[in-house]
Homo-oligomer: 134 residues x 2
DNA sequence: GACATAGTTGACGTTTACGTCAACGTAATG
DNA sequence: CATTACGTTGACGTAAACGTCAACTATGTC
Protein backbone atom coordinates (compact mmCIF):
# COMPACT_ATOMS: atom_id res chain seq x y z
CA UNK A 1 0.00 0.00 0.00
CA UNK A 2 2.69 2.48 0.93
CA UNK A 3 4.51 3.57 -2.17
CA UNK A 4 8.14 4.49 -2.47
CA UNK A 5 7.54 7.23 -4.98
CA UNK A 6 6.28 10.60 -3.80
CA UNK A 7 3.09 10.33 -1.78
CA UNK A 8 0.80 12.91 -0.27
CA UNK A 9 0.82 12.56 3.47
CA UNK A 10 0.98 15.06 6.28
CA UNK A 11 0.21 17.89 3.89
CA UNK A 12 3.01 17.63 1.34
CA UNK A 13 4.80 15.49 -1.21
CA UNK A 14 7.62 13.42 0.21
CA UNK A 15 10.54 12.02 -1.74
CA UNK A 16 12.90 9.17 -1.01
CA UNK A 17 16.57 9.58 -1.75
CA UNK A 18 16.51 7.32 -4.80
CA UNK A 19 13.48 9.16 -6.09
CA UNK A 20 15.34 12.47 -5.99
CA UNK A 21 18.38 10.81 -7.51
CA UNK A 22 16.26 9.71 -10.48
CA UNK A 23 14.55 13.04 -10.91
CA UNK A 24 17.81 14.98 -10.97
CA UNK A 25 19.86 12.29 -12.64
CA UNK A 26 22.45 12.18 -9.89
CA UNK A 27 23.50 9.44 -7.47
CA UNK A 28 22.25 8.91 -3.93
CA UNK A 29 25.86 9.24 -2.91
CA UNK A 30 25.91 12.79 -4.20
CA UNK A 31 22.74 13.67 -2.29
CA UNK A 32 24.14 12.30 0.96
CA UNK A 33 27.33 14.19 0.28
CA UNK A 34 25.43 17.45 -0.09
CA UNK A 35 23.85 16.76 3.29
CA UNK A 36 27.21 16.06 4.89
CA UNK A 37 28.35 19.40 3.50
CA UNK A 38 25.42 21.17 5.10
CA UNK A 39 23.37 21.93 1.98
CA UNK A 40 20.47 19.65 2.86
CA UNK A 41 18.94 18.48 6.12
CA UNK A 42 16.05 16.12 5.38
CA UNK A 43 13.73 14.64 7.97
CA UNK A 44 14.33 11.14 9.20
CA UNK A 45 11.95 8.22 9.62
CA UNK A 46 14.06 5.92 11.71
CA UNK A 47 17.34 6.04 9.89
CA UNK A 48 15.82 6.67 6.48
CA UNK A 49 15.86 10.12 4.92
CA UNK A 50 12.65 11.77 3.82
CA UNK A 51 12.79 14.79 1.56
CA UNK A 52 10.23 17.60 1.48
CA UNK A 53 9.32 19.91 -1.41
CA UNK A 54 11.62 22.42 0.23
CA UNK A 55 14.48 19.93 0.04
CA UNK A 56 13.51 19.35 -3.57
CA UNK A 57 13.78 23.06 -4.29
CA UNK A 58 17.12 23.22 -2.53
CA UNK A 59 18.45 20.36 -4.64
CA UNK A 60 17.21 22.11 -7.76
CA UNK A 61 19.19 25.16 -6.71
CA UNK A 62 22.28 23.04 -6.12
CA UNK A 63 21.99 21.49 -9.57
CA UNK A 64 21.57 24.91 -11.17
CA UNK A 65 24.57 26.11 -9.23
CA UNK A 66 26.57 23.20 -10.55
CA UNK A 67 25.62 23.99 -14.14
CA UNK A 68 26.93 27.50 -13.48
CA UNK A 69 30.16 26.21 -12.00
CA UNK A 70 29.39 27.27 -8.45
CA UNK A 71 31.20 25.39 -5.70
CA UNK A 72 29.13 23.65 -3.06
CA UNK A 73 30.33 26.26 -0.58
CA UNK A 74 28.91 29.00 -2.79
CA UNK A 75 25.63 27.16 -3.26
CA UNK A 76 25.43 26.63 0.49
CA UNK A 77 25.71 30.37 1.02
CA UNK A 78 23.02 30.92 -1.56
CA UNK A 79 20.76 28.38 0.13
CA UNK A 80 21.20 30.10 3.45
CA UNK A 81 19.77 33.27 1.94
CA UNK A 82 16.47 31.44 1.62
CA UNK A 83 16.47 30.09 5.16
CA UNK A 84 14.91 32.11 7.97
CA UNK A 85 17.74 33.49 10.07
CA UNK A 86 17.61 35.63 13.18
CA UNK A 87 15.11 38.39 12.65
CA UNK A 88 17.00 41.50 13.52
CA UNK A 89 17.70 44.38 11.19
CA UNK A 90 21.41 43.79 11.23
CA UNK A 91 20.99 40.20 10.06
CA UNK A 92 18.61 41.33 7.34
CA UNK A 93 21.19 43.81 6.11
CA UNK A 94 23.82 41.11 5.93
CA UNK A 95 21.51 38.87 3.94
CA UNK A 96 20.62 41.70 1.57
CA UNK A 97 24.31 42.31 1.03
CA UNK A 98 24.86 38.68 0.13
CA UNK A 99 21.88 38.77 -2.21
CA UNK A 100 23.52 41.73 -3.91
CA UNK A 101 26.81 39.87 -4.21
CA UNK A 102 25.16 36.80 -5.66
CA UNK A 103 23.40 38.92 -8.24
CA UNK A 104 26.71 40.56 -9.09
CA UNK A 105 28.35 37.23 -9.70
CA UNK A 106 25.42 36.15 -11.86
CA UNK A 107 25.68 39.39 -13.80
CA UNK A 108 29.36 38.78 -14.43
CA UNK A 109 28.59 35.31 -15.73
CA UNK A 110 25.86 36.80 -17.90
CA UNK A 111 28.42 39.18 -19.44
CA UNK A 112 30.85 36.33 -20.08
CA UNK A 113 28.12 34.37 -21.83
CA UNK A 114 27.20 37.30 -24.04
CA UNK A 115 30.80 37.79 -25.12
CA UNK A 116 31.23 34.10 -25.83
CA UNK A 117 28.00 34.09 -27.82
CA UNK A 118 29.18 36.98 -29.97
CA UNK A 119 32.53 35.32 -30.58
CA UNK A 120 30.84 32.09 -31.56
CA UNK A 121 28.56 33.94 -33.95
CA UNK A 122 31.56 35.65 -35.53
CA UNK A 123 33.37 32.37 -35.87
CA UNK A 124 30.35 30.74 -37.48
CA UNK A 125 30.23 33.55 -40.04
CA UNK A 126 33.89 33.07 -40.85
CA UNK A 127 33.43 29.34 -41.27
CA UNK A 128 30.42 29.79 -43.55
CA UNK A 129 32.37 32.23 -45.65
CA UNK A 130 35.24 29.80 -45.96
CA UNK A 131 32.79 27.08 -46.94
CA UNK A 132 31.25 29.23 -49.65
CA UNK A 133 34.63 29.92 -51.16
CA UNK A 134 35.25 26.26 -51.84
CA UNK B 1 67.29 47.84 -23.75
CA UNK B 2 65.11 44.77 -24.16
CA UNK B 3 62.18 44.95 -21.82
CA UNK B 4 60.46 42.14 -20.06
CA UNK B 5 57.01 43.63 -20.35
CA UNK B 6 55.16 43.47 -23.66
CA UNK B 7 57.15 44.95 -26.49
CA UNK B 8 56.43 45.52 -30.13
CA UNK B 9 58.75 43.42 -32.20
CA UNK B 10 58.25 41.32 -35.29
CA UNK B 11 54.86 42.87 -35.86
CA UNK B 12 53.03 42.14 -32.60
CA UNK B 13 52.96 42.49 -28.87
CA UNK B 14 54.74 39.73 -26.99
CA UNK B 15 54.12 38.72 -23.41
CA UNK B 16 56.23 36.83 -20.94
CA UNK B 17 54.64 34.23 -18.73
CA UNK B 18 54.79 36.37 -15.60
CA UNK B 19 53.32 39.27 -17.52
CA UNK B 20 50.30 37.21 -18.49
CA UNK B 21 50.07 35.88 -14.95
CA UNK B 22 49.82 39.44 -13.65
CA UNK B 23 47.30 40.56 -16.24
CA UNK B 24 44.96 37.67 -15.56
CA UNK B 25 45.71 37.37 -11.86
CA UNK B 26 46.71 33.74 -12.06
CA UNK B 27 49.99 31.93 -11.40
CA UNK B 28 52.63 31.01 -13.92
CA UNK B 29 52.10 27.46 -12.80
CA UNK B 30 48.51 27.61 -14.02
CA UNK B 31 49.61 28.93 -17.42
CA UNK B 32 52.15 26.16 -17.84
CA UNK B 33 49.53 23.68 -16.77
CA UNK B 34 47.15 24.91 -19.47
CA UNK B 35 49.92 24.38 -21.99
CA UNK B 36 50.57 20.86 -20.74
CA UNK B 37 46.86 20.23 -21.18
CA UNK B 38 47.02 21.38 -24.78
CA UNK B 39 45.19 24.70 -24.44
CA UNK B 40 48.17 26.89 -25.23
CA UNK B 41 51.26 26.43 -27.38
CA UNK B 42 53.42 29.55 -27.14
CA UNK B 43 56.58 30.15 -29.12
CA UNK B 44 59.93 29.51 -27.52
CA UNK B 45 63.03 31.63 -27.39
CA UNK B 46 65.54 29.12 -26.19
CA UNK B 47 63.66 27.50 -23.37
CA UNK B 48 61.64 30.57 -22.47
CA UNK B 49 58.03 30.88 -23.49
CA UNK B 50 56.86 33.86 -25.52
CA UNK B 51 53.16 34.57 -25.80
CA UNK B 52 51.48 36.25 -28.75
CA UNK B 53 48.25 38.28 -28.85
CA UNK B 54 46.58 35.10 -30.02
CA UNK B 55 47.81 33.29 -26.91
CA UNK B 56 46.52 36.23 -24.90
CA UNK B 57 43.08 35.84 -26.47
CA UNK B 58 43.15 32.14 -25.81
CA UNK B 59 43.96 32.72 -22.16
CA UNK B 60 41.14 35.22 -21.94
CA UNK B 61 38.82 32.57 -23.28
CA UNK B 62 40.10 30.06 -20.72
CA UNK B 63 39.52 32.50 -17.88
CA UNK B 64 36.00 33.23 -19.09
CA UNK B 65 35.39 29.52 -19.34
CA UNK B 66 36.54 29.11 -15.76
CA UNK B 67 34.15 31.80 -14.55
CA UNK B 68 31.39 29.85 -16.26
CA UNK B 69 32.47 26.58 -14.70
CA UNK B 70 33.75 25.02 -17.90
CA UNK B 71 36.32 22.28 -17.53
CA UNK B 72 39.67 22.71 -19.25
CA UNK B 73 38.64 19.92 -21.62
CA UNK B 74 35.58 21.92 -22.62
CA UNK B 75 37.58 25.10 -23.04
CA UNK B 76 40.09 23.19 -25.14
CA UNK B 77 37.31 22.09 -27.46
CA UNK B 78 36.10 25.66 -27.66
CA UNK B 79 39.60 26.89 -28.45
CA UNK B 80 39.93 24.38 -31.25
CA UNK B 81 36.88 25.90 -32.90
CA UNK B 82 38.95 29.03 -33.46
CA UNK B 83 41.96 27.22 -34.85
CA UNK B 84 42.23 26.53 -38.57
CA UNK B 85 41.61 22.84 -39.10
CA UNK B 86 41.61 20.83 -42.29
CA UNK B 87 39.70 22.71 -44.92
CA UNK B 88 37.24 20.20 -46.20
CA UNK B 89 33.48 20.53 -46.06
CA UNK B 90 33.09 17.60 -43.70
CA UNK B 91 35.43 19.19 -41.15
CA UNK B 92 33.60 22.48 -41.44
CA UNK B 93 30.33 20.74 -40.72
CA UNK B 94 31.78 19.14 -37.62
CA UNK B 95 33.03 22.47 -36.37
CA UNK B 96 29.69 24.14 -37.04
CA UNK B 97 28.01 21.38 -35.06
CA UNK B 98 30.31 22.01 -32.12
CA UNK B 99 29.68 25.72 -32.37
CA UNK B 100 25.98 24.93 -32.14
CA UNK B 101 26.53 22.73 -29.09
CA UNK B 102 28.61 25.37 -27.34
CA UNK B 103 25.92 27.93 -27.94
CA UNK B 104 23.33 25.52 -26.56
CA UNK B 105 25.31 25.06 -23.39
CA UNK B 106 25.70 28.82 -23.03
CA UNK B 107 21.96 29.25 -23.56
CA UNK B 108 21.23 26.72 -20.82
CA UNK B 109 23.50 28.61 -18.47
CA UNK B 110 21.78 31.85 -19.42
CA UNK B 111 18.41 30.30 -18.51
CA UNK B 112 19.76 29.15 -15.15
CA UNK B 113 21.03 32.64 -14.45
CA UNK B 114 17.68 34.20 -15.28
CA UNK B 115 15.85 31.85 -12.95
CA UNK B 116 18.33 32.47 -10.15
CA UNK B 117 18.02 36.22 -10.69
CA UNK B 118 14.24 36.06 -10.40
CA UNK B 119 14.45 33.96 -7.25
CA UNK B 120 16.92 36.39 -5.71
CA UNK B 121 14.66 39.32 -6.55
CA UNK B 122 11.73 37.54 -4.94
CA UNK B 123 13.76 36.78 -1.87
CA UNK B 124 14.89 40.38 -1.59
CA UNK B 125 11.27 41.52 -1.70
CA UNK B 126 10.35 39.12 1.07
CA UNK B 127 13.22 40.30 3.21
CA UNK B 128 12.33 43.96 2.70
CA UNK B 129 8.73 43.23 3.64
CA UNK B 130 9.84 41.46 6.80
CA UNK B 131 12.09 44.42 7.63
CA UNK B 132 9.24 46.88 7.20
CA UNK B 133 7.05 44.92 9.60
CA UNK B 134 9.48 45.37 12.43
C1' DG C 1 82.28 37.99 -11.86
C1' DA C 2 79.29 37.40 -7.94
C1' DC C 3 74.57 37.97 -7.41
C1' DA C 4 69.84 38.99 -7.86
C1' DT C 5 66.00 38.19 -11.14
C1' DA C 6 63.11 35.62 -14.22
C1' DG C 7 62.38 31.29 -16.17
C1' DT C 8 62.51 25.98 -16.67
C1' DT C 9 61.40 21.04 -15.62
C1' DG C 10 60.16 17.33 -12.53
C1' DA C 11 57.86 15.51 -8.59
C1' DC C 12 54.87 15.30 -5.00
C1' DG C 13 50.98 17.49 -2.22
C1' DT C 14 46.20 19.34 -1.81
C1' DT C 15 41.30 20.51 -2.35
C1' DT C 16 36.76 19.59 -4.26
C1' DA C 17 33.24 16.52 -5.39
C1' DC C 18 32.01 12.79 -5.56
C1' DG C 19 32.64 7.04 -6.98
C1' DT C 20 33.10 2.62 -5.20
C1' DC C 21 33.12 -1.00 -2.32
C1' DA C 22 32.01 -3.37 2.26
C1' DA C 23 29.21 -4.58 5.93
C1' DC C 24 25.10 -3.99 7.86
C1' DG C 25 19.80 -2.75 8.86
C1' DT C 26 14.86 -3.12 7.59
C1' DA C 27 10.88 -4.06 5.27
C1' DA C 28 7.80 -6.11 1.93
C1' DT C 29 7.01 -10.26 -0.78
C1' DG C 30 6.40 -14.82 -2.63
C1' DC D 1 11.13 -17.21 6.58
C1' DA D 2 14.50 -16.76 3.13
C1' DT D 3 14.99 -13.59 -0.42
C1' DT D 4 15.01 -9.29 -2.78
C1' DA D 5 15.01 -4.35 -2.74
C1' DC D 6 16.18 -0.26 -0.77
C1' DG D 7 18.50 2.20 2.69
C1' DT D 8 22.38 3.25 6.07
C1' DT D 9 27.27 4.41 7.68
C1' DG D 10 32.20 4.17 7.22
C1' DA D 11 36.41 3.95 4.60
C1' DC D 12 39.19 4.32 0.86
C1' DG D 13 39.90 5.63 -4.16
C1' DT D 14 39.91 9.06 -7.91
C1' DA D 15 39.89 12.87 -11.43
C1' DA D 16 40.56 17.73 -12.17
C1' DA D 17 43.14 21.75 -11.42
C1' DC D 18 46.37 23.51 -9.83
C1' DG D 19 50.01 24.68 -5.36
C1' DT D 20 54.41 24.01 -3.64
C1' DC D 21 58.92 22.88 -3.29
C1' DA D 22 63.59 21.57 -5.30
C1' DA D 23 67.20 21.82 -8.37
C1' DC D 24 68.81 23.96 -12.23
C1' DT D 25 69.54 27.63 -16.19
C1' DA D 26 69.98 31.99 -18.41
C1' DT D 27 70.51 37.00 -18.07
C1' DG D 28 71.65 41.47 -16.96
C1' DT D 29 73.38 44.42 -13.31
C1' DC D 30 76.54 46.49 -9.82
Amino acid sequence: MTKNTPSSNSGGTIYTISDLAQRFDITTRAIRFYESEGLLSPERQGQKRLYSPRDYATLKLIIRGKRLGWSLAQSRELIQLYNPAENNQQQYQKVLEKVRQSRERLQEQMNDIEIMMIELNDQESRIREAMDKQ
